[in-house]
């Protein structure tokens, strides 16, 4: 496509100028496509890690013998609250990942779509196995964990492959030069997301089952209704920088960890829930007011 250098003779004339501009545009598109492919690989490996964490949280918090004892406040959890505690951050992660894909400049080509189907299938396998073992068969958690670990192997391999591809990619964005606070709507949405996740986490440890259930239902409804608006999670994904993504990762893992702790501890669940809720909310609330990189359009 590109001519070999033909010495230092100046390009002149209308046709030569138009041809050079076309070459520049075509190269720009190819560089965009390469950056997008790397972003897809990173998103793929992060989502795979999120699925793995989710599956282990399901097994550990819901496996047979979960809820080893009632909390010190006498409240014996029925597991429903913990199921929501695991489901809510996963829904948020899925919605954010969808937004990240939408924010890319180029659509994935055939090979990347095939790979996406492969990763989705590999993600569904441990999810289904974990749910069957935990919900239908009430398998003791060590056995459920062992079986689930085996089913995660394909996903682990694909995630590792994606991470290595992203690391070795020859086109990347350098350290950002320009940083600026998120836009007003994104700041509010990020902080509200953190507070909402924190509230769900805090309420799941208390005896306020109705309040907890309503908070979760309101969260699901809000995510669905705001999907296409500037307040929605998909829009956030296009604006977040590394700090915001890291904060969400922390809140996500803390929430899953909290579900496991709540289902297995003898401590006062109200205290554990409230402390957990604050820890879940804090990273996103702080990150909402941290700067994010500005890239050329």
């Amino acid at each position: 496509m590109i001519d070999q250098p033909s010495g230092d003779s100046p390009q002149s004339g209308t046709d030569a100028a138009a041809r050079l501009l076309q070459v520049g545009d075509a190269l720009n598109d190819r560089v965009h496509a390469a950056i997008d492919a790397r972003t897809r690989a990173i998103a793929e490996s992060c989502m795979a890690a999120a699925v793995l964490a989710y599956v282990f949280a399901v097994v550990l918090s819901g496996g047979g013998n979960a809820g080893l004892g009632a909390g010190a406040n006498g409240y014996e959890p029925n597991g429903l609250g913990f199921a929501f505690l695991i489901l809510v951050p996963f829904l948020a992660a899925t919605s954010l990942e969808q937004g990240l894909r939408q924010s890319l400049h180029t659509a994935g080509h055939g090979r990347s779509r095939t790979r996406r189907v492969l990763v989705a299938s590999a993600s569904m396998l441990p999810l289904c196995v974990a749910l069957i073992l935990v919900v239908f068969w009430q398998t003791p958690w060590p056995l459920a964990l062992l079986i689930t670990v085996v089913t995660t192997v394909p996903l682990l391999l694909l995630a590792t492959q994606s991470a290595r591809r992203a690391r070795n990619w020859g086109v990347r964005r350098p350290k950002p030069v320009w940083l600026a606070p998120l836009g007003g709507a994104s700041q509010i949405s990020t902080a509200v997301l953190g507070l909402w996740l924190g509230a769900i986490a805090a309420l799941s440890g208390t005896t306020l089952i109705l309040a907890g259930g309503l908070t979760v239902i309101a969260f699901f409804c809000t995510v669905m209704v705001t999907q296409q608006s500037r307040w929605g999670l998909p829009r956030l994904a296009g604006e977040w920088g590394r700090e915001q993504w890291s904060a969400f990762g922390c809140s996500y893992l803390l929430m899953l960890g909290l579900a496991v702790v709540l289902s297995r501890t003898n401590w006062d669940l109200t205290v554990v829930g409230i402390v957990g809720g604050v820890c879940v909310a804090a990273p996103l609330v702080i990150a909402a007011f941290r700067p994010a990189p500005i890239w050329e359009p």
Partner: protein
Amino acid sequence: MGAHHPRHDLDDALLTPLRFSVMAALRADVEIDFGTLRDLLETDDSALSKAISTLSAAGYVAVRKGFVGNRPRTWLTATGAGIAAMRIHVAALQAIAAGLPPAS
């Protein structure tokens, strides 16, 4: 004062197709490794090396040596001066391609 033809705004350092292509690939927010850039531009190592030396001497490209794992990598980015020069050069090319009459 005489008419100012857009060709006077063309940058000498960007006049060969390869050097122009290098700068077109190195957008403001991208870092490309030498091997990947060579493949993108469908050229060979020696031609690309020469082009980068010229652009680097003009202060348009920054070269950074790094490692990915144990493998050495040479990362290339456009400098602020390079991005500005490219913008002026592209504007001049657009004017020429559009067949604009010389501005007086």
